[in-house]
Subunit: 227 residues, 2 copies
DNA sequence: ACCTGAACACCGTTCAAGT
DNA sequence: ACCTGAACACCGTTCAAGT
């Protein structure tokens, strides 16, 4: 339980790829706030300015992380698919959700960055195609696609009881504190909140994510039926 | 077009309220990144450390902003309401959406902070009540309520063409640049993306937000029908 | 009760220079 | 092409002290 992260001496040269690797690993382990130019440099045994040869600024590095996430999405295979559009759309969402769930601390980075990378463009192209089959106009399809992506992100980032890059001990403590603060509320004024104290503080992941996807798909289906 | 924000000499004393006022106004004008302990102090003609008497740290100040937003929500009046739960739920969402739209730069602050203030608790209590009428279990109602709140937030923060606290001139330039970068893509590979270039870069707000709310309500209604 | 002064340990980034 | 050194202009925050 030492506070320092174990760092390999990192003999090998720097590269965009290596830098993104480390940034992502660091974010996974300690949260995005720990991802700092200076910290990354230190972990690589290099001067902070060394990174600026590979990335114009920190924002481009974050772009790189987002691109990495998106390139990790394993898309449903191309080609004709006889199934209804909503089933295909769901597969797309789930594929995206898988990688976001693996990297909750960086998931939100993709929201503003999908159109900046090839894998993001591919994902978007597929989504737009399916939504136009569903009967949406260009404008609506675009908005629904954006919203669908964003929904997967917030599903991951707002999961009740999600470990916020802290160790398990103090995380459980925070959960208990929060739960207690809800249970202590006047039950005649907040009966539902008090009764939901548990659910606000933790949940079982699989049903949670399934509900989230169901909600979105049902919404799209519902709206498409009124077109 | 001077670069300095015009600051009243601010003769009056400091207070939590005044600080939050200024922080919110500053965020609205220049984005949340501009909201800095030091900057706020300077604008009030006071030393940075003066703020620490009123707020334990910056995070508590952000809590204060979130609470302010939530207290600005004008809730549909209490008391028995004969209308179906989904109409009532929609009113709740729209009420929240109104204030989030007025403060896009700070909207996301409420996502993790609803349960920390009385207005947030009231909003949540009402939402949970309606969802339990709709037939959801405690766990599901809690998750749906959280997701609904978060959806309103991302609707606001990811609106295409949303002004990111920059002046109109360079904002239009960025939009043109982004649009051009999409239109230049190979149309045989990304037909839908290219055709949607316009829609990714701007939209008319009212239909956009209505679609967003429709999507969510339709989703909840759809899922509730399968219970 | 309310605010100041000085200091600490951080940031991202520029610019000129080394190999 | 790839990296270093020194410096700049910022952060949030602590701690002791003033009124």
């Amino acid at each position: 339980m030492t506070r320092k992260t174990a760092e390999a001496p990192a003999k090998e040269r720097l590269s965009r790829e290596r830098i993104v690797d480390n940034a992502l690993a660091l974010a996974d382990a300690e949260g995005l706030d720990a991802v700092t130019i200076r910290r990354l440099a230190q972990d690589q045994g290099v001067t902070p300015m060394a990174l600026y040869w590979h990335f114009k600024d920190k924002d481009r590095l974050l772009d790189g992380i987002a691109e990495r996430l998106l390139s990790d999405v394993v898309m449903p295979s191309e080609g004709p698919d006889a199934r209804p559009w909503d089933e295909q759309f769901r597969d797309l969402l789930v594929a995206l959700l898988q990688v976001l769930r693996a990297h909750p601390a960086t998931a939100h980075l993709v929201m503003t960055r999908i159109m900046l990378s090839e894998p993001g463009l591919n994902l978007t192209e597929r989504a737009l195609g399916l939504l136009s089959v569903a009967g949406f106009s260009r404008e609506q399809a675009t908005q629904v696609a954006s919203h669908a992506l964003a929904s997967m992100v917030i599903l991951v980032t707002t999961e009740p009881g999600r470990p916020e890059a802290s160790d398990t001990a103090e995380r459980e403590q925070r959960m208990r504190t929060k739960k207690a603060s809800l249970q202590v509320l006047p039950p005649e004024q907040y009966p539902n909140v008090v009764a939901s104290a548990d659910a606000f503080v933790q949940c079982s992941s699989e049903p949670y994510f399934e509900l989230g996807v169901d909600l979105l798909i049902a919404g799209i289906r519902g709206v498409s039926a009124t077109l």
